[in-house]
Symmetry: C2
Subunit: 216 residues, 2 copies
């Protein structure tokens, strides 16, 4: 395995998909470099030709690792899991793995894409109501699923990719003033995870590009 050079994460402190990757690196104990991509400044640094070479979707994250460039956070997380030692980010049992992927995709395909910056820009003035609507819709589905699959964490008692997706999504929900009290299982797991070191050090309030007024 070629791990001579540290992976480079091109991300943004507040991007939920960048946070997912930071959590995965932290859980695995992998050192990495960060290159901030400011999604707002100058119309968005993700729009430059140079950045589009890394990720033609004009989104963060993009990760340079082992000589390849990967975008799409769940692809990155599973690549890290399959090539690095450390705690498993997906369980060994195929059914539990499937449940982890189901929950991860419910968030990554069913909720998050609808609050992406470029989608909200197209929605315009009603963007807060739009985001709230789809977060509630997703959480209403996620809550009964987690009631069945969860132990201490989303699937059983080990932290997994599903948890990596959950916490940044709850953070987004709170930004959009979604009342998470309605979803007691989501709320409980999120609070438990936020107490762990990997979720703390990767938090948007503690990144190199976090603006001073948002720093923890």
């Amino acid at each position: 395995m070629a791990t001579q050079t540290k992976p480079v994460l091109h991300g943004y402190f507040r991007s939920s998909c960048s946070w997912r990757v930071r959590i995965a690196f932290s859980l695995k104990g992998i050192e990495y470099d960060q290159v901030p991509v400011n999604l707002i400044k100058d119309g968005g640094q993700q729009m430059t030709e140079q950045y589009q070479e890394l990720n033609p979707m004009k989104q963060v994250p993009a990760v340079e690792i082992d000589g390849i460039t990967l975008s799409q956070s769940l692809a990155v997380i599973q690549y890290i899991d399959e090539t690095r030692p450390g705690p498993r980010l997906l369980p060994a049992d195929p059914k539990a793995r499937a449940q982890v992927r189901m929950i991860s995709d419910l968030i990554a395909s069913g909720i998050q894409p609808l609050q992406n910056l470029y989608v909200l820009q197209k929605i315009g003035a009603e963007k807060a109501e739009w985001a709230q609507h789809f977060i509630h819709r997703g959480f209403q589905a996620l809550e009964p699923i987690l009631k069945k699959t969860s132990g201490k964490y989303c699937v059983g008692d080990e932290i997994s990719m599903a948890d990596i997706c959950l916490v940044p999504q709850v953070y987004n929900a709170e930004r959009f003033k979604v009342d998470v009290e309605q979803y007691p299982t989501i709320k409980r797991i999120n609070e438990t995870l936020l107490e762990t070191e990997a979720f703390k050090v990767s938090h948007p309030s503690r990144q190199p590009d976090t603006p001073a007024d948002l720093r923890a």
Copy 2:
């Protein structure tokens, strides 16, 4: 492995995510039963309490397999791949696997969710323009990625989950009158795949619930 009973796919002939699962079953040579869920009739059969037990997201597909119920097509496909013999749906090499997942997620998180029925219903009158916009946006990113990763298929010369995602997305694009000629690599791979048996038998024009006027 408990494979005594055939898996049951709850799906809809024209749903691109249902088609993904049908392709995977066909590639693996797995017999399965289909239960049609008509997304349009009576306000949508996915809205019934009974169906929401299977998939609280009120979407197709839902798959009953080995005693569990899974939603989210990519979770289903990877579960099938990890538990069934037959051709691999993800390559053995970790970097190639990551590229397959990156392309799959670009489609499954970056394009498809924005044309989901419940999203288009919320958009209303401008839904065709909305869908076209986001399909073009995604294909503009996918085309240069495929130029790098593709051989005969999306990643090299073996059919993978990326191809399983590509063909139903191109089908959707054509429904929304997106000109695919602009994307020669996407077009070429799609045409090649449509000639294969697994993609033919799983096609929306050939399902038990395909209306007579849309049958091939």
